[in-house]
């Protein structure tokens, strides 16, 4: 009975094995698809974050902040995004995911730093009214000072002229 069991069930066993193999391959492909989708979604998120960071840096620049360092960081984040896209084309989804995440994190930090710089720049920037007042006040003080110096100079000039001896030709 034991000898006759194997050939009888060999067909069933092989069917089960084929089914198991098919299931394994299918599950592997599903995992692979998920990785690809995750990486693609992360790259899109990184791209959007980088654009937001650029807007924030632009706003900081308009407010008069020094953004030199932020531009260097933006380029680093941009490089990470390009790297993520490259990894994606090579099918290296884990690397694409990591680089996109690095880009997104960097971009968020840039946006935050740009926001702080903008606040400092706006607070430290003299207002238009203040600048105009200082200009008017400065001009008035300068005019009075020049007038005073002129009067002193004229007095000294006249005194020196009166005290000078006439030249005999």
């Amino acid at each position: 009975m034991g000898e006759s069991w194997l050939p009888r069930h060999l067909k069933d066993l092989s069917m089960i094995l084929i089914l198991a193999l098919g299931l394994f391959i299918a599950s592997f492909q599903v995992v692979s698809c998920t990785d690809r989708d995750d990486a693609a979604a992360r790259i899109n998120a990184a791209d959007a974050a980088l654009k937001l960071a650029y807007h924030a840096v632009g706003d900081a620049e308009v407010s008069g902040a020094n953004i030199t360092e932020l531009v260097v960081w933006l380029n680093d984040a941009g490089g990470a995004l390009s790297g993520a896209r490259t990894a994606m084309t090579l099918g290296n989804y884990s690397e694409a995911l990591a680089k996109a995440a690095a880009c997104e994190t960097g971009a968020n930090e840039i946006a935050a730093a740009a926001g702080e710089l903008e606040t400092f720049a706006v607070e430290g920037k003299p207002s238009g009214w203040m600048t105009a007042s200082l200009s008017v006040l400065g001009s008035a003080v300068f005019t009075i000072a020049m007038f005073g110096v002129w009067r002193l100079f004229k007095r000294q000039y006249s005194k020196r002229l009166l005290e000078s001896k006439p030249e005999v030709a």
Binding site: L50, K51, Y54, H55, V57, G58, E61, V62, I67, T68, V71, L74, N75, A77, G78, G79, L81, S82, R85, T86, T89, L90, G128, T131, A132, L134, S135, V136, G138, S139, F142, T143, M146, V149, W150, F153, K154, Y157, S158
Partner: protein, 200 residues
Amino acid sequence: MWSLDDCRHAFVAVWLVGTVALCVPSVLLYVRLPAGERFSELYILGPTHMAENYPFNVAADTSYMVYLGVTNHLGNTSYYEVQVKLRNPTEPLPNVTVHDPSSQPALYTYEVSLGDGQTWEDTLNFSFSQMSFESNDSSVGKIQVNGAMVSLNESSTWDGTNNGYYYQVFAELWVYNNADNSFMFHDRFVSLWLNMTSPV
């Protein structure tokens, strides 16, 4: 010795210059001085970092390198994309007159942020593989750009006048438009003619 009148004129001149100088910051708050011409530069240099020795005759599975550079003269920090593309002689180039980029897909994209007056430069490394030659046609199956492998379906027929199978690698400059929140073709591109030679 100066006369009193000469001295008065000198004093008035100094007073005028000083007053104008003190008023300049206030005036600049309301008056915008005309800016210079605003533009961006895009350039390509050979492997020796000079405008010479550009790759021309290319073979399969051999790496070639050139430099790409961008300079920002737009008056503010700008966000650029440099898109690397490939075409054969029958496919259209970008049309800068009508601000139309090439319809070819980007093989690689550089993301570049530049402050006003700043320059960015990077290498462009590329190699071709799966090249084939049959009668008067050649085709390229894959191109690797800065490590990114991209599948292609580009073919080129024999150019009897210039004796070669010609392809053109070109880089388009795109700039981010704050108003539209999207990149726009910036009417700049540089290109490199390549002659595909025998397969390995």
